[in-house]
Symmetry: C2
DNA sequence: GTCTATAACGAGATAGAC
DNA sequence: GTCTATCTCGTTATAGAC
């Protein structure tokens, strides 16, 4: 419910472009994550922010540009979150747990992963969005593969295939678990499935591997 | 490219309602599976079939009814395919393989699972479609759970949790693998991931469990 | 059953005043 | 930067002729 006009601003002062753009992106992001790129309009954002559609076009000239900006910001936030996980210097198992928690926070808010949602609509997206989408998944898989490889080297993980392959399985399983969980309006379904996806990676001897 | 007018029909004869409805559903299905429910229109179908939009409304009065009919037909076809697998009387491992092959045929055609696609758009769907969507996943999971339980009883499978839980993991992983694979325009990504999802279910002692 | 014609509306987008 | 006003187009859907 964030508005373009920031509370506490001097009477009559306008929002800066950056503030308005952020507010627009916030609303648009929520809309895409719940309804999809083809399931929302400038009108939806305008109503939510209490401005006109024309104002939105000042900040994002076209819906395609808005869409690309959405992925860029989401991607950057994700990379920052991954960097934070890395900075904590925890063991691979803990890093994987925290990665899953990123997804859990998304579905907890009744949302789907932004890029998981866009992946479904892939065929209808402008080319710049498709490129960014692909890159988001590539970066995710690469980070996951690194963590998985480190975990196996440390003897904490016991998956059989190449780290990159297992990374693809994990990423797909998490995205799919979100997708299905939303059809049941039940975030717990995601949590239960995610727990098993982690267990499939962890070594058989570990306390978490079975049951 | 199937048309409403069946080739070989006597000159001047019209298509029967059932034939036209089937042709409409065929095109609509392909459109939803590639572009999503919010990504196609009656105009798309009309052009493809060489008829007018008004004709389509004769067979499916509203888009919501068309959508429900789509899920009903897809669900029935899926159930029939599962019955065929069951009728073959193969071992659980073979049944699971054949289940995955159903998904593989879908993505081989450049499509996403109809219900996986609709799951993304869940929040924008009419209530009757949401109900049907949920039911499709329930039936899938129940069938999978039965196969998984039989496999474990037979000593072929070695997953640790309740069959229903593992069924949810498998279903989610397959749907997610399709989703991501489509973003890469690469069906092989699905196949590789699906192979590992199966391996996660199969016993450690089996030749397919590792590498 | 399929057509033409059109209603009724919402979409993305732009011009120009303030 | 945000507004009013408007344009153009595509959408779902209906009426009525053939």
């Amino acid at each position: 419910m964030r508005k373009a006009i920031r509370p506490g601003r001097p009477r009559g002062a306008r929002a800066t472009p950056a503030e308005s753009a952020t507010a627009i992106l916030d609303v648009a992001e929520q809309l895409v994550q719940t309804r999809g790129y083809n399931g929302f309009s400038y009108a939806n954002i305008a109503v939510e922010l209490g401005v006109t559609k024309a104002s939105l076009h000042y900040h994002f000239a076209s819906k395609a540009l808005l869409g690309s900006a959405l992925i860029d910001r989401y991607h950057a936030a994700f990379v920052a979150a991954l960097a934070e996980i890395d900075a904590a210097g925890a063991r691979p198992a803990e890093r994987l747990e925290r990665y899953v928690r990123l997804y859990d926070q998304v579905i907890r808010n009744g949302r789907m992963c932004l890029c998981g949602m866009l992946a479904a609509e892939h065929a209808t997206l402008p080319a710049p969005m498709r490129t960014r989408l692909r890159r988001f998944f590539e970066v995710n898989e690469r980070w996951l593969a690194t963590v998985l490889e480190a975990g196996r080297d440390a003897g904490d993980f016991a998956f059989g295939e190449r780290p990159g392959e297992r990374a693809a399985v994990v990423l797909g399983a998490l995205e799919g678990a979100m997708l299905v969980a939303r059809s049941f309006d039940d975030p717990r379904r995601f949590r239960i499935a995610a727990r098993r996806v982690i267990a499939d990676v962890v070594s058989v001897g570990s306390p978490r591997a079975r049951h």
